[in-house]
Protein backbone atom coordinates (compact mmCIF):
# COMPACT_ATOMS: atom_id res chain seq x y z
CA UNK A 1 0.00 0.00 0.00
CA UNK A 2 1.57 3.26 -1.09
CA UNK A 3 1.17 6.12 1.35
CA UNK A 4 2.08 9.61 0.21
CA UNK A 5 2.75 12.73 2.19
CA UNK A 6 0.46 15.61 1.25
CA UNK A 7 2.46 18.31 -0.61
CA UNK A 8 -0.27 20.93 -0.31
CA UNK A 9 -1.34 23.41 2.30
CA UNK A 10 -4.03 20.89 3.32
CA UNK A 11 -6.75 23.50 3.15
CA UNK A 12 -9.17 21.04 1.62
CA UNK A 13 -10.03 17.59 2.94
CA UNK A 14 -8.28 14.66 1.31
CA UNK A 15 -11.73 13.36 0.43
CA UNK A 16 -14.43 15.79 -0.55
CA UNK A 17 -17.21 15.54 2.07
CA UNK A 18 -20.84 15.26 1.04
CA UNK A 19 -22.98 18.35 1.50
CA UNK A 20 -25.27 18.17 4.50
CA UNK A 21 -28.75 16.82 3.79
CA UNK A 22 -31.48 19.43 4.27
CA UNK A 23 -33.54 18.50 7.32
CA UNK A 24 -36.78 19.31 5.49
CA UNK A 25 -37.94 20.24 1.99
CA UNK A 26 -39.84 23.33 3.14
CA UNK A 27 -38.90 26.11 0.76
CA UNK A 28 -36.38 23.88 -0.99
CA UNK A 29 -36.57 23.51 -4.75
CA UNK A 30 -35.80 19.93 -5.73
CA UNK A 31 -33.97 19.25 -8.98
CA UNK A 32 -35.08 16.15 -10.87
CA UNK A 33 -32.15 15.07 -13.02
CA UNK A 34 -32.73 12.70 -15.93
CA UNK A 35 -29.51 11.10 -17.13
CA UNK A 36 -31.18 10.02 -20.40
CA UNK A 37 -31.49 6.36 -19.51
CA UNK A 38 -34.66 4.75 -20.89
CA UNK A 39 -37.80 5.56 -18.87
CA UNK A 40 -35.92 7.80 -16.46
CA UNK A 41 -38.45 10.40 -17.47
CA UNK A 42 -41.33 8.11 -16.48
CA UNK A 43 -39.84 7.72 -13.02
CA UNK A 44 -39.21 11.41 -12.63
CA UNK A 45 -42.66 12.34 -13.97
CA UNK A 46 -44.20 10.26 -11.18
CA UNK A 47 -41.85 11.75 -8.55
CA UNK A 48 -42.70 15.23 -9.78
CA UNK A 49 -46.41 14.46 -9.33
CA UNK A 50 -45.88 13.25 -5.79
CA UNK A 51 -43.61 16.13 -4.78
CA UNK A 52 -45.86 18.80 -6.25
CA UNK A 53 -48.82 17.23 -4.47
CA UNK A 54 -46.91 17.74 -1.22
CA UNK A 55 -46.24 21.36 -2.07
CA UNK A 56 -42.56 20.94 -2.95
CA UNK A 57 -41.20 23.04 -5.82
CA UNK A 58 -39.42 21.10 -8.56
CA UNK A 59 -37.28 21.80 -11.64
CA UNK A 60 -36.42 19.32 -14.36
CA UNK A 61 -32.96 18.83 -15.82
CA UNK A 62 -31.43 16.45 -18.33
CA UNK A 63 -27.86 15.25 -18.84
CA UNK A 64 -26.91 15.15 -22.52
CA UNK A 65 -25.73 11.57 -22.23
CA UNK A 66 -25.51 9.01 -19.45
CA UNK A 67 -22.09 7.96 -20.73
CA UNK A 68 -20.23 10.95 -19.38
CA UNK A 69 -20.24 12.89 -16.13
CA UNK A 70 -22.68 15.79 -15.98
CA UNK A 71 -21.22 18.87 -17.64
CA UNK A 72 -19.84 21.37 -15.15
CA UNK A 73 -22.29 24.00 -16.32
CA UNK A 74 -25.25 21.74 -15.62
CA UNK A 75 -23.95 20.95 -12.16
CA UNK A 76 -23.44 24.62 -11.47
CA UNK A 77 -26.96 25.51 -12.64
CA UNK A 78 -28.50 22.86 -10.46
CA UNK A 79 -26.47 24.01 -7.47
CA UNK A 80 -27.52 27.61 -8.03
CA UNK A 81 -31.18 26.97 -8.73
CA UNK A 82 -31.99 24.15 -6.31
CA UNK A 83 -31.34 22.89 -2.80
CA UNK A 84 -31.54 19.15 -3.41
CA UNK A 85 -31.27 16.70 -6.30
CA UNK A 86 -32.98 13.45 -7.19
CA UNK A 87 -31.26 11.64 -10.02
CA UNK A 88 -32.87 8.90 -12.11
CA UNK A 89 -29.91 6.59 -12.60
CA UNK A 90 -30.67 3.15 -13.99
CA UNK A 91 -33.03 1.85 -16.68
Amino acid sequence: MTILLDPTAEKTPALRPLAARPSSLDGVTVALLDISKPRGDVFLDRLAELLVARGVGIRRYTKPTFAKPAPADLRRRIAEECGAVIEALAD
Binding site: I3, L4, P7, T8, A14
Partner: protein, 477 residues
Protein backbone atom coordinates in the same frame (compact mmCIF):
# COMPACT_ATOMS: atom_id res chain seq x y z
CA UNK B 1 3.33 -1.83 20.71
CA UNK B 2 3.55 -5.50 21.58
CA UNK B 3 1.39 -7.98 19.73
CA UNK B 4 -0.97 -10.15 21.81
CA UNK B 5 1.40 -13.11 21.29
CA UNK B 6 5.13 -13.41 20.75
CA UNK B 7 4.93 -16.84 19.12
CA UNK B 8 2.16 -18.50 17.16
CA UNK B 9 -0.61 -17.75 14.70
CA UNK B 10 -2.75 -14.64 14.67
CA UNK B 11 -5.56 -13.62 12.32
CA UNK B 12 -7.10 -10.16 11.93
CA UNK B 13 -10.80 -10.25 11.04
CA UNK B 14 -13.94 -8.16 10.88
CA UNK B 15 -17.37 -9.53 11.60
CA UNK B 16 -18.57 -7.31 8.76
CA UNK B 17 -16.57 -9.23 6.15
CA UNK B 18 -17.95 -11.99 3.97
CA UNK B 19 -14.61 -13.69 3.54
CA UNK B 20 -14.02 -13.75 7.28
CA UNK B 21 -17.41 -15.40 7.65
CA UNK B 22 -16.50 -17.86 4.91
CA UNK B 23 -13.26 -19.02 6.55
CA UNK B 24 -14.81 -19.67 9.99
CA UNK B 25 -14.26 -23.44 9.60
CA UNK B 26 -10.61 -22.76 8.76
CA UNK B 27 -10.18 -20.69 11.90
CA UNK B 28 -11.66 -23.58 13.88
CA UNK B 29 -9.26 -26.05 12.29
CA UNK B 30 -6.24 -23.92 13.13
CA UNK B 31 -7.53 -23.21 16.64
CA UNK B 32 -7.85 -26.95 17.29
CA UNK B 33 -4.45 -27.60 15.75
CA UNK B 34 -1.47 -25.36 16.50
CA UNK B 35 -3.71 -22.73 18.11
CA UNK B 36 -4.88 -19.30 16.90
CA UNK B 37 -5.44 -15.84 18.33
CA UNK B 38 -8.24 -13.93 16.62
CA UNK B 39 -8.05 -10.14 16.53
CA UNK B 40 -11.29 -8.30 15.68
CA UNK B 41 -11.37 -4.86 14.09
CA UNK B 42 -15.09 -4.30 14.68
CA UNK B 43 -16.83 -6.75 17.05
CA UNK B 44 -14.91 -8.84 19.58
CA UNK B 45 -18.01 -10.95 20.32
CA UNK B 46 -17.50 -12.60 16.93
CA UNK B 47 -16.66 -15.31 16.21
CA UNK B 48 -18.06 -16.94 19.37
CA UNK B 49 -15.82 -19.46 21.03
CA UNK B 50 -12.58 -17.80 19.90
CA UNK B 51 -12.36 -15.10 22.61
CA UNK B 52 -11.20 -12.51 20.04
CA UNK B 53 -8.90 -9.71 21.08
CA UNK B 54 -10.64 -6.33 20.82
CA UNK B 55 -8.85 -4.21 18.22
CA UNK B 56 -11.63 -1.72 17.59
CA UNK B 57 -9.09 1.03 18.27
CA UNK B 58 -6.93 -0.51 15.48
CA UNK B 59 -3.70 -0.36 17.50
CA UNK B 60 -2.78 -3.96 16.56
CA UNK B 61 -3.90 -3.44 12.95
CA UNK B 62 -1.67 -0.34 12.85
CA UNK B 63 1.26 -2.33 14.20
CA UNK B 64 0.73 -4.98 11.52
CA UNK B 65 -0.38 -2.48 8.83
CA UNK B 66 -3.21 -4.84 8.01
CA UNK B 67 -4.60 -3.98 4.58
CA UNK B 68 -7.16 -6.74 4.16
CA UNK B 69 -9.36 -8.93 6.36
CA UNK B 70 -8.87 -11.75 7.02
CA UNK B 71 -5.07 -11.73 7.16
CA UNK B 72 -3.28 -14.62 8.81
CA UNK B 73 0.11 -13.96 10.45
CA UNK B 74 2.75 -16.30 11.83
CA UNK B 75 4.45 -14.53 14.71
CA UNK B 76 7.96 -15.42 15.84
CA UNK B 77 9.83 -13.49 18.50
CA UNK B 78 7.10 -10.87 18.59
CA UNK B 79 7.35 -10.13 14.86
CA UNK B 80 5.26 -11.25 11.87
CA UNK B 81 7.42 -13.55 9.74
CA UNK B 82 4.80 -14.82 7.27
CA UNK B 83 1.44 -13.49 6.12
CA UNK B 84 -1.51 -14.60 4.03
CA UNK B 85 -3.88 -11.79 3.03
CA UNK B 86 -7.43 -12.69 2.01
CA UNK B 87 -8.34 -16.39 1.75
CA UNK B 88 -6.08 -18.62 -0.34
CA UNK B 89 -5.83 -22.20 0.80
CA UNK B 90 -2.26 -22.76 -0.36
CA UNK B 91 -1.06 -19.61 1.43
CA UNK B 92 -2.94 -20.34 4.63
CA UNK B 93 -1.54 -23.89 4.70
CA UNK B 94 1.95 -22.49 4.17
CA UNK B 95 1.68 -19.91 6.93
CA UNK B 96 -0.15 -22.10 9.45
CA UNK B 97 1.62 -25.35 8.69
CA UNK B 98 -1.77 -27.09 8.78
CA UNK B 99 -2.65 -29.27 5.77
CA UNK B 100 -6.06 -29.84 4.18
CA UNK B 101 -7.69 -26.68 5.40
CA UNK B 102 -11.50 -26.73 4.87
CA UNK B 103 -11.52 -28.85 1.70
CA UNK B 104 -15.13 -27.82 0.98
CA UNK B 105 -14.27 -24.16 0.55
CA UNK B 106 -13.22 -22.64 -2.77
CA UNK B 107 -9.45 -22.41 -3.25
CA UNK B 108 -9.41 -18.66 -2.77
CA UNK B 109 -11.59 -15.62 -2.13
CA UNK B 110 -10.46 -11.99 -1.94
CA UNK B 111 -10.59 -10.37 1.45
CA UNK B 112 -12.33 -7.14 2.42
CA UNK B 113 -10.72 -3.78 3.00
CA UNK B 114 -9.23 -3.41 6.44
CA UNK B 115 -10.87 -0.71 8.60
CA UNK B 116 -7.41 0.85 8.96
CA UNK B 117 -7.57 2.09 5.38
CA UNK B 118 -11.07 3.52 5.43
CA UNK B 119 -11.15 7.22 4.44
CA UNK B 120 -9.44 9.43 7.04
CA UNK B 121 -9.05 6.53 9.50
CA UNK B 122 -5.45 5.83 8.60
CA UNK B 123 -4.45 9.45 9.18
CA UNK B 124 -6.24 9.55 12.54
CA UNK B 125 -4.61 6.32 13.75
CA UNK B 126 -1.22 7.38 12.45
CA UNK B 127 -1.29 10.62 14.41
CA UNK B 128 -2.16 8.64 17.52
CA UNK B 129 0.35 5.83 17.11
CA UNK B 130 3.32 6.91 15.08
CA UNK B 131 6.39 8.57 16.40
CA UNK B 132 7.12 10.18 13.03
CA UNK B 133 8.40 13.73 13.14
CA UNK B 134 6.62 14.48 9.88
CA UNK B 135 3.28 16.13 10.41
CA UNK B 136 1.92 16.33 6.87
CA UNK B 137 -1.33 14.54 6.24
CA UNK B 138 -0.79 10.99 4.98
CA UNK B 139 -2.73 9.99 1.92
CA UNK B 140 -3.04 6.22 1.51
CA UNK B 141 -3.65 5.20 -2.07
CA UNK B 142 -5.90 2.39 -3.19
CA UNK B 143 -4.25 -1.00 -3.42
CA UNK B 144 -4.35 -1.06 -7.19
CA UNK B 145 -4.04 2.71 -7.61
CA UNK B 146 -1.09 3.85 -9.74
CA UNK B 147 0.72 6.48 -7.64
CA UNK B 148 1.69 8.53 -10.70
CA UNK B 149 -1.91 8.72 -11.91
CA UNK B 150 -3.14 9.37 -8.39
CA UNK B 151 -0.93 12.44 -8.09
CA UNK B 152 -2.13 13.79 -11.43
CA UNK B 153 -5.69 13.19 -10.28
CA UNK B 154 -5.17 15.18 -7.09
CA UNK B 155 -3.98 18.22 -8.99
CA UNK B 156 -0.45 18.26 -7.61
CA UNK B 157 1.30 18.19 -10.96
CA UNK B 158 2.71 20.90 -13.21
CA UNK B 159 1.72 18.71 -16.15
CA UNK B 160 4.63 16.30 -15.95
CA UNK B 161 4.79 13.11 -13.86
CA UNK B 162 5.87 13.50 -10.26
CA UNK B 163 7.99 11.31 -8.00
CA UNK B 164 5.66 9.86 -5.31
CA UNK B 165 6.53 11.52 -1.99
CA UNK B 166 6.57 8.51 0.34
CA UNK B 167 7.67 8.95 3.93
CA UNK B 168 10.93 7.20 3.08
CA UNK B 169 11.76 9.54 0.25
CA UNK B 170 10.81 12.62 2.23
CA UNK B 171 12.98 11.52 5.17
CA UNK B 172 15.85 10.92 2.77
CA UNK B 173 15.33 14.39 1.29
CA UNK B 174 15.35 15.97 4.76
CA UNK B 175 18.77 14.48 5.38
CA UNK B 176 20.00 17.10 2.91
CA UNK B 177 19.36 19.90 5.41
CA UNK B 178 20.26 20.54 9.02
CA UNK B 179 17.00 22.43 9.50
CA UNK B 180 14.11 20.99 11.45
CA UNK B 181 11.22 19.78 9.27
CA UNK B 182 8.79 21.81 11.36
CA UNK B 183 10.69 25.05 10.83
CA UNK B 184 8.67 27.65 8.93
CA UNK B 185 10.60 28.82 5.89
CA UNK B 186 8.19 31.54 4.84
CA UNK B 187 4.58 32.52 4.51
CA UNK B 188 3.79 31.52 0.94
CA UNK B 189 1.49 33.54 -1.27
CA UNK B 190 -1.06 33.63 -2.70
CA UNK B 191 -2.85 31.68 0.04
CA UNK B 192 -0.47 33.01 2.71
CA UNK B 193 0.25 29.58 4.15
CA UNK B 194 3.08 28.82 6.56
CA UNK B 195 5.44 26.79 4.45
CA UNK B 196 7.58 24.41 6.48
CA UNK B 197 10.86 22.72 5.59
CA UNK B 198 8.84 19.52 5.45
CA UNK B 199 6.46 20.85 2.79
CA UNK B 200 9.40 22.06 0.70
CA UNK B 201 11.01 18.64 1.04
CA UNK B 202 7.84 16.89 -0.12
CA UNK B 203 7.64 19.05 -3.23
CA UNK B 204 11.39 18.65 -3.81
CA UNK B 205 10.91 14.88 -3.81
CA UNK B 206 8.10 15.23 -6.32
CA UNK B 207 10.24 17.42 -8.54
CA UNK B 208 12.97 14.81 -8.62
CA UNK B 209 15.56 16.64 -6.51
CA UNK B 210 18.41 14.94 -4.71
CA UNK B 211 18.76 15.66 -0.97
CA UNK B 212 21.84 17.84 -1.53
CA UNK B 213 19.73 20.23 -3.61
CA UNK B 214 17.35 20.93 -0.74
CA UNK B 215 19.24 23.90 0.79
CA UNK B 216 19.19 25.60 -2.62
CA UNK B 217 15.47 24.96 -2.99
CA UNK B 218 14.87 26.31 0.53
CA UNK B 219 16.77 29.51 -0.30
CA UNK B 220 14.78 29.90 -3.52
CA UNK B 221 11.49 29.47 -1.65
CA UNK B 222 12.57 32.00 0.92
CA UNK B 223 13.52 34.52 -1.76
CA UNK B 224 10.29 33.99 -3.69
CA UNK B 225 8.08 34.73 -0.70
CA UNK B 226 9.66 38.07 0.10
CA UNK B 227 7.57 41.17 -0.42
CA UNK B 228 10.38 42.43 -2.62
CA UNK B 229 10.23 39.54 -5.08
CA UNK B 230 6.43 39.45 -4.95
CA UNK B 231 5.70 35.89 -6.05
CA UNK B 232 2.01 36.69 -5.55
CA UNK B 233 2.00 39.32 -8.24
CA UNK B 234 4.16 37.19 -10.48
CA UNK B 235 1.88 34.18 -10.10
CA UNK B 236 -1.26 36.20 -10.74
CA UNK B 237 -0.05 38.22 -13.70
CA UNK B 238 -1.26 37.83 -17.25
CA UNK B 239 2.36 38.37 -18.26
CA UNK B 240 4.78 35.75 -19.53
CA UNK B 241 7.20 35.53 -16.66
CA UNK B 242 7.99 33.04 -13.96
CA UNK B 243 10.73 32.82 -11.35
CA UNK B 244 14.20 32.50 -12.87
CA UNK B 245 16.69 30.99 -10.43
CA UNK B 246 20.41 31.81 -10.75
CA UNK B 247 22.83 30.01 -8.47
CA UNK B 248 26.26 31.34 -7.51
CA UNK B 249 29.09 30.08 -5.34
CA UNK B 250 30.58 26.72 -4.37
CA UNK B 251 27.22 24.98 -3.99
CA UNK B 252 26.70 25.00 -7.75
CA UNK B 253 29.69 22.80 -8.45
CA UNK B 254 29.15 20.71 -5.37
CA UNK B 255 25.68 19.62 -6.46
CA UNK B 256 26.67 19.28 -10.11
CA UNK B 257 24.77 22.17 -11.69
CA UNK B 258 25.29 23.10 -15.32
CA UNK B 259 26.73 26.48 -16.31
CA UNK B 260 28.06 25.48 -19.71
CA UNK B 261 26.73 23.85 -22.87
CA UNK B 262 22.94 24.14 -23.17
CA UNK B 263 22.88 25.97 -19.82
CA UNK B 264 19.30 27.20 -20.29
CA UNK B 265 18.12 23.91 -21.74
CA UNK B 266 17.22 20.50 -20.32
CA UNK B 267 19.45 17.61 -19.33
CA UNK B 268 20.94 18.58 -16.01
CA UNK B 269 19.09 17.16 -13.01
CA UNK B 270 19.96 19.93 -10.56
CA UNK B 271 19.10 22.74 -12.98
CA UNK B 272 15.82 21.09 -13.98
CA UNK B 273 14.57 19.92 -10.60
CA UNK B 274 15.51 22.89 -8.42
CA UNK B 275 13.51 25.26 -10.60
CA UNK B 276 10.70 22.76 -10.78
CA UNK B 277 10.61 22.27 -7.01
CA UNK B 278 10.22 26.00 -6.41
CA UNK B 279 7.30 26.16 -8.82
CA UNK B 280 5.65 23.11 -7.25
CA UNK B 281 5.87 24.73 -3.81
CA UNK B 282 4.25 27.92 -5.10
CA UNK B 283 1.57 25.82 -6.76
CA UNK B 284 0.85 23.24 -4.09
CA UNK B 285 1.57 25.12 -0.88
CA UNK B 286 0.89 28.66 -2.04
CA UNK B 287 -2.12 27.69 -4.13
CA UNK B 288 -1.09 29.41 -7.38
CA UNK B 289 -2.69 27.25 -10.04
CA UNK B 290 -3.04 27.98 -13.78
CA UNK B 291 -6.65 28.87 -14.48
CA UNK B 292 -7.01 29.80 -10.82
CA UNK B 293 -4.76 32.57 -9.60
CA UNK B 294 -2.51 32.09 -12.63
CA UNK B 295 -4.21 33.88 -15.51
CA UNK B 296 -1.23 34.23 -17.80
CA UNK B 297 -2.23 34.94 -21.38
CA UNK B 298 0.57 32.93 -22.92
CA UNK B 299 2.91 32.12 -20.05
CA UNK B 300 6.16 30.50 -21.11
CA UNK B 301 7.84 27.10 -21.01
CA UNK B 302 10.20 28.48 -18.39
CA UNK B 303 7.36 28.47 -15.88
CA UNK B 304 7.92 24.74 -15.61
CA UNK B 305 11.53 25.30 -14.61
CA UNK B 306 14.13 27.96 -15.30
CA UNK B 307 17.25 27.53 -13.20
CA UNK B 308 20.96 27.62 -13.95
CA UNK B 309 24.35 28.33 -12.45
CA UNK B 310 26.57 31.18 -13.56
CA UNK B 311 29.92 30.17 -15.05
CA UNK B 312 32.15 32.02 -12.63
CA UNK B 313 35.46 30.29 -13.39
CA UNK B 314 35.40 31.35 -17.05
CA UNK B 315 33.94 34.80 -16.50
CA UNK B 316 35.89 37.99 -17.17
CA UNK B 317 33.90 39.68 -14.43
CA UNK B 318 32.80 39.39 -10.83
CA UNK B 319 29.82 37.11 -10.32
CA UNK B 320 26.23 38.24 -10.01
CA UNK B 321 26.37 37.46 -6.29
CA UNK B 322 29.49 39.55 -5.73
CA UNK B 323 27.99 42.41 -7.72
CA UNK B 324 25.01 42.23 -5.41
CA UNK B 325 27.12 42.49 -2.29
CA UNK B 326 27.94 38.92 -1.30
CA UNK B 327 31.35 37.33 -0.68
CA UNK B 328 33.04 35.49 -3.50
CA UNK B 329 32.85 32.24 -1.59
CA UNK B 330 29.24 32.61 -0.52
CA UNK B 331 26.66 30.35 -2.11
CA UNK B 332 23.58 32.28 -3.18
CA UNK B 333 20.33 32.00 -5.05
CA UNK B 334 19.12 35.00 -7.04
CA UNK B 335 15.53 35.12 -8.18
CA UNK B 336 14.44 37.20 -11.15
CA UNK B 337 10.92 37.44 -12.50
CA UNK B 338 11.49 36.78 -16.17
CA UNK B 339 11.22 34.63 -19.24
CA UNK B 340 13.26 33.86 -22.30
CA UNK B 341 15.73 33.60 -23.74
CA UNK B 342 15.51 36.04 -26.57
CA UNK B 343 18.49 35.77 -28.85
CA UNK B 344 21.43 38.08 -29.54
CA UNK B 345 23.01 36.66 -32.67
CA UNK B 346 26.23 38.42 -33.51
CA UNK B 347 28.84 36.36 -35.24
CA UNK B 348 30.76 39.18 -36.86
CA UNK B 349 31.53 41.76 -34.17
CA UNK B 350 35.14 41.64 -33.02
CA UNK B 351 35.20 44.89 -31.09
CA UNK B 352 33.51 45.59 -27.79
CA UNK B 353 31.87 48.69 -29.24
CA UNK B 354 30.27 46.79 -32.07
CA UNK B 355 29.08 43.97 -29.86
CA UNK B 356 27.70 46.35 -27.23
CA UNK B 357 25.70 48.04 -29.96
CA UNK B 358 24.29 44.66 -31.02
CA UNK B 359 23.30 44.03 -27.41
CA UNK B 360 21.53 47.38 -27.24
CA UNK B 361 19.70 46.80 -30.52
CA UNK B 362 18.41 43.42 -29.40
CA UNK B 363 17.52 44.68 -25.95
CA UNK B 364 15.38 47.37 -27.50
CA UNK B 365 12.46 44.98 -27.95
CA UNK B 366 12.25 43.83 -24.34
CA UNK B 367 8.47 44.11 -23.68
CA UNK B 368 8.03 46.55 -26.61
CA UNK B 369 10.42 48.64 -28.67
CA UNK B 370 8.66 51.79 -27.53
CA UNK B 371 8.59 50.95 -23.83
CA UNK B 372 11.38 51.70 -21.37
CA UNK B 373 12.39 51.68 -17.71
CA UNK B 374 9.46 49.59 -16.38
CA UNK B 375 11.00 46.25 -17.40
CA UNK B 376 14.41 44.86 -16.38
CA UNK B 377 16.53 42.34 -18.23
CA UNK B 378 19.43 39.98 -17.72
CA UNK B 379 21.86 39.31 -20.55
CA UNK B 380 23.41 35.87 -20.39
CA UNK B 381 26.77 36.53 -22.06
CA UNK B 382 28.29 33.47 -23.66
CA UNK B 383 32.04 32.69 -23.40
CA UNK B 384 32.75 33.64 -27.01
CA UNK B 385 31.04 36.99 -26.61
CA UNK B 386 32.62 37.52 -23.19
CA UNK B 387 36.05 37.05 -24.72
CA UNK B 388 35.52 40.10 -26.86
CA UNK B 389 34.84 42.25 -23.81
CA UNK B 390 37.71 40.63 -21.92
CA UNK B 391 40.17 41.38 -24.71
CA UNK B 392 38.95 44.98 -24.80
CA UNK B 393 39.44 45.25 -21.06
CA UNK B 394 35.80 46.18 -20.37
CA UNK B 395 34.61 45.69 -16.81
CA UNK B 396 31.00 44.73 -16.23
CA UNK B 397 30.29 48.29 -15.10
CA UNK B 398 31.74 49.64 -18.36
CA UNK B 399 29.69 47.18 -20.37
CA UNK B 400 26.51 48.24 -18.60
CA UNK B 401 27.18 51.93 -19.13
CA UNK B 402 28.00 51.43 -22.79
CA UNK B 403 24.90 49.33 -23.45
CA UNK B 404 22.63 51.72 -21.56
CA UNK B 405 23.98 54.62 -23.54
CA UNK B 406 23.50 52.82 -26.83
CA UNK B 407 19.97 51.88 -25.80
CA UNK B 408 19.01 55.48 -25.15
CA UNK B 409 16.50 56.88 -27.63
CA UNK B 410 14.87 60.25 -28.17
CA UNK B 411 11.66 60.36 -26.16
CA UNK B 412 9.78 61.60 -29.19
CA UNK B 413 10.25 58.22 -30.86
CA UNK B 414 8.87 56.34 -27.88
CA UNK B 415 5.76 58.22 -26.87
CA UNK B 416 2.29 56.88 -27.49
CA UNK B 417 1.23 57.44 -31.04
CA UNK B 418 4.73 57.95 -32.35
CA UNK B 419 5.46 55.94 -35.46
CA UNK B 420 1.76 55.17 -35.82
CA UNK B 421 1.86 52.87 -32.80
CA UNK B 422 -0.52 53.57 -29.95
CA UNK B 423 1.65 51.76 -27.41
CA UNK B 424 4.53 53.66 -25.89
CA UNK B 425 5.59 56.04 -23.15
CA UNK B 426 3.41 58.82 -21.76
CA UNK B 427 3.60 62.20 -23.46
CA UNK B 428 5.74 63.57 -20.62
CA UNK B 429 8.70 61.67 -22.06
CA UNK B 430 8.47 63.43 -25.43
CA UNK B 431 11.32 65.84 -24.74
CA UNK B 432 14.76 64.55 -23.89
CA UNK B 433 16.09 61.04 -24.22
CA UNK B 434 15.18 57.84 -22.47
CA UNK B 435 17.44 54.88 -21.71
CA UNK B 436 15.84 51.50 -22.23
CA UNK B 437 16.61 50.42 -18.66
CA UNK B 438 17.13 52.06 -15.32
CA UNK B 439 20.66 52.01 -13.91
CA UNK B 440 19.90 48.92 -11.82
CA UNK B 441 17.60 47.34 -14.35
CA UNK B 442 20.18 45.72 -16.63
CA UNK B 443 22.23 42.74 -15.47
CA UNK B 444 24.89 40.56 -17.03
CA UNK B 445 25.78 36.98 -16.13
CA UNK B 446 28.30 34.70 -17.78
CA UNK B 447 27.25 31.23 -18.85
CA UNK B 448 26.98 28.91 -21.80
CA UNK B 449 28.98 26.59 -24.03
CA UNK B 450 32.35 27.71 -25.34
CA UNK B 451 31.31 27.49 -28.99
CA UNK B 452 28.79 29.97 -30.32
CA UNK B 453 28.71 33.70 -30.84
CA UNK B 454 25.30 34.04 -29.27
CA UNK B 455 24.10 35.60 -26.04
CA UNK B 456 20.63 35.51 -24.56
CA UNK B 457 18.23 38.03 -23.07
CA UNK B 458 16.08 37.06 -20.12
CA UNK B 459 13.38 39.71 -20.19
CA UNK B 460 11.75 40.72 -16.97
CA UNK B 461 8.27 41.35 -15.67
CA UNK B 462 7.32 44.77 -14.32
CA UNK B 463 9.90 46.07 -11.87
CA UNK B 464 9.74 48.25 -8.80
CA UNK B 465 7.57 48.02 -5.67
CA UNK B 466 4.44 47.24 -7.68
CA UNK B 467 6.11 44.46 -9.60
CA UNK B 468 9.08 42.27 -8.74
CA UNK B 469 12.65 43.10 -7.87
CA UNK B 470 15.65 40.86 -8.20
CA UNK B 471 16.23 39.17 -4.84
CA UNK B 472 19.30 37.30 -3.60
CA UNK B 473 19.38 34.98 -0.61
CA UNK B 474 22.32 33.07 0.78
CA UNK B 475 22.09 29.28 0.68
CA UNK B 476 22.08 27.70 4.14
CA UNK B 477 22.58 24.11 5.21
Amino acid sequence: MDLPISEGLLVVVKRDCETCQLVLPVLGQILDGPGLVVVSQDDPSWPPGFAPVDDTDLAISWRLQTEVTPTLYRIEDGEPVATAAGWRRSEWERVSGVADLAPDLPAHRPGCGSRLFEPDVYERIRRREAGSRLTSRRIPLGISEDPIEAMFGRGWSDGLPLVPPTEERVEAMLAGTTRDPAEVVCVMPPDLVECTVEKVAINAVMAGCRPEYLPVVLAAVEAAATDRFNIHGLAATTYFSGPVVIVNGPVARRIGMNSGINVLGPGNRANATIGRALNLVVRNVGGAVPGGIDRATLGSPGKLTFCFAEDEAGSPWESLAVERGFDGDASTVTLFAGHGPHEIVDQLSRTAESLATSFALQLRTVAHAKLAIRFDAIVVVSPEHARIFREAGWSKRRLREEVLERSTRPGGELVRGAGGVAEGLPETFAEGSVPKFSADGLWFVHAGGTAGLFSGIIAGWVNGPGGSQMTTVEVGT
